[in-house]
Symmetry: C2
Subunit: 337 residues, 2 copies
DNA sequence: GCCGCATATGATATCGATATCTTGATATCG
DNA sequence: CGATATCAAGATATCGATATCATATGCGGC
């Protein structure tokens, strides 16, 4: 080690302060502050003069100082949870589209978005935020509980809690999604439906429950085919296994579009006709589904809107307004399968 | 209006301060500060005692105060650019996978990620960051120029600048991607290649240039088919138009996997064999490509890694270390098309 | 001509943490 | 034994912005 490296002597980007501007303009710094925040307490002319001055000199507000004084950060932390098992992060299109809505809404409300991956639980930067948005609840809600303890305004994306949550939950109404698929199958006279997915995911479990319950009302009990991967291959594989076990089925509800597409491919290979012999409905309405041959029927959830909702709810919480959990309606998109 | 709503009397989450802890422990606050930052200036025993105390009382560092004092924010702003024309934001899987790598790398270096959509150019929160990562350069580099003026450490994702950039650029080596496709076509004896894409995007332009240049070395001039949308339909449409214009072609380089898949579908419909009659190569290596029938050949770019690189470079810039622009190699993935 | 009131501006204290400079106590050495 | 390190901890100033209280000026009414 040649040099002390840890203690930098305080970085210094030059940057004017309000005090500097004040000196330049021959007024007090408080007047600058007021002028720049459009306070009616300062004369219109002075105000404009000072604003012009600030602009000319490229003045930049020191956010830390303001936040310190005002005891708030105008920041919402978004915590992206790791996926339960696989080491991969949740950086799939799915939670990320939420981010779009979140960012849009918060930014236009004058808030900043602090993006974090869950790591050091007690990350200081998270605690300094005014609110929290949690994407992905973690295995058995552990993440939720962890952050809940911070006592900050918090909104969680995911499946509805099993009653009495202390925090707000926003999510797609997975149960209703499952119901709508069941209704569709019933309406076209299917009697032997199969569910492909992984009920270990709370969301998928809800879909399954809705599906099962609705069918039960009509005396039908679907077959549950558990599949951990949501890949096309997994869908292919699922159908093949059904076939080799000589299961009779005439409808498939797949928990993702990829699974559904795989299923269809396998069906076609087996010489079965979609949807004549077997009807298939996927989930998510991924862009490709519509272009698939045949065009895929699916359940659509609006991520973008979900993000906006999440953002609005944290903001409401932050401003101490009453807020309720909310499930967003899903849409059954009937195409050709 | 019933009440003054704008001026809240200073929000107050209780929260201990170092001063409080100091009083509790009977030491001075500076000692607390030192103890909590593991300074060797304080006795090991006292240090541990104080740390324990802080933990017990759930002390939380006030980040704003520290940032103010230290004149840094330990924050990097990531600015997600709007797509040039379409009103849609860049919230597609593409830039978002970059985010994954960025977030991972910055977080583990102790930095926070501030996510912003480009909006008010001079967003205060951006200026308070220690560095900038720009995803998407905007129409004709306007975004880049805008942020460049801030004079902050900045790294841009995208096509290599046309010489003499003042900022660092990290990107996929699109030119090389184009070249590798050309080489492949040449090696399997194709003489009439077509390029489908939109050269208005700097990235795609690079792909085209590489493609064209490499082919030119062998006396071949590809046909350029301009398509603005990167959808499957657009690919279908492109091939149909080729066919109706009775163009002779035996290879297609499509600028996105979706385009490629559309092209293949259209070819099959027209009774042409892939790859016997026409070879097709896409771009991006989207998950579906591998499962497509036939499995799609494509050019892969590693987004995750790109994000990591971006993050490392800003950090280096922030620490005043020498940094250079870098193009990441692409991989030609040859499957069946 | 004095009081009251509105308007415009200033002085000061403060938010919470840390750099820097001091001070006090103990240890080391010639 | 006195001089000088070494270690531990405190006092103070400071980062930049803003809330709060105080001050100056103008103007109309009685």
């Amino acid at each position: 080690m040649t040099h002390a490296k840890k203690k930098q002597p305080l970085a210094q980007r030059p940057g004017l302060t309000m005090a500097d501007l004040a000196k330049l303009a021959g007024v007090s710094k408080i007047t600058i502050s007021r002028a720049l925040s459009d306070s009616p307490l300062v004369n219109v002319e002075t105000r404009e003069r000072l604003q012009e001055l600030a602009r000319k000199h490229g003045y930049k507000l020191n956010v830390s100082a303001r936040n310190l004084r005002l005891r708030r950060s105008h920041t919402v932390a978004v915590i992206v949870e790791m996926k339960p098992s696989s080491g991969r992060t949740m950086w799939d299109p799915y939670p990320l589209s939420l981010l779009g809505g979140i960012s849009q809404e918060l930014t236009s409300a004058g808030y900043s978005v602090l993006l974090t991956t869950r790591q050091g639980a007690a990350d200081a930067s998270v605690q300094s935020a005014d609110g929290l948005i949690l994407l992905g609840q973690g295995v058995r809600q552990d993440a939720v509980r962890l952050y809940d303890k911070l006592g900050m305004p918090m909104v969680v994306w995911g499946a509805a809690g099993q009653g009495g949550d202390s925090h707000i939950v926003v999510g797609s109404d997975n149960r209703q999604g499952g119901i709508s698929v069941a209704e569709r199958f019933l309406s076209i006279g299917r009697r032997n439906p199969v569910f492909i997915g992984n009920p270990d995911h709370p969301e998928m479990a809800q879909r399954l429950f809705g599906f099962v319950d609705e069918l039960a009302d009509h005396g039908i009990k679907p077959l549950l085919l558990r599949r951990a991967d949501f890949t096309l291959e997994s869908g292919v594989d699922a159908v093949r296994s059904l076939h080799s076990r000589k299961v009779r089925f005439d409808a498939i509800f797949a928990c993702s579009d990829l699974l559904a597409m795989g299923a269809i491919r396998a069906l076609v290979e087996l010489g079965l006709s979609v949807p004549n012999d077997v009807s298939v409905i996927g989930y998510d309405d991924t862009p490709l589904g519509a272009s698939f041959l045949p065009p895929l029927s699916t359940v659509r959830q609006n991520w973008q809107e979900g993000g906006v909702l999440l953002a609005r709810k944290v903001l409401a919480l932050i401003h101490s307004q009453p807020v309720q959990s909310q499930m967003m309606a899903t849409t059954l998109v009937v195409r050709s399968t």
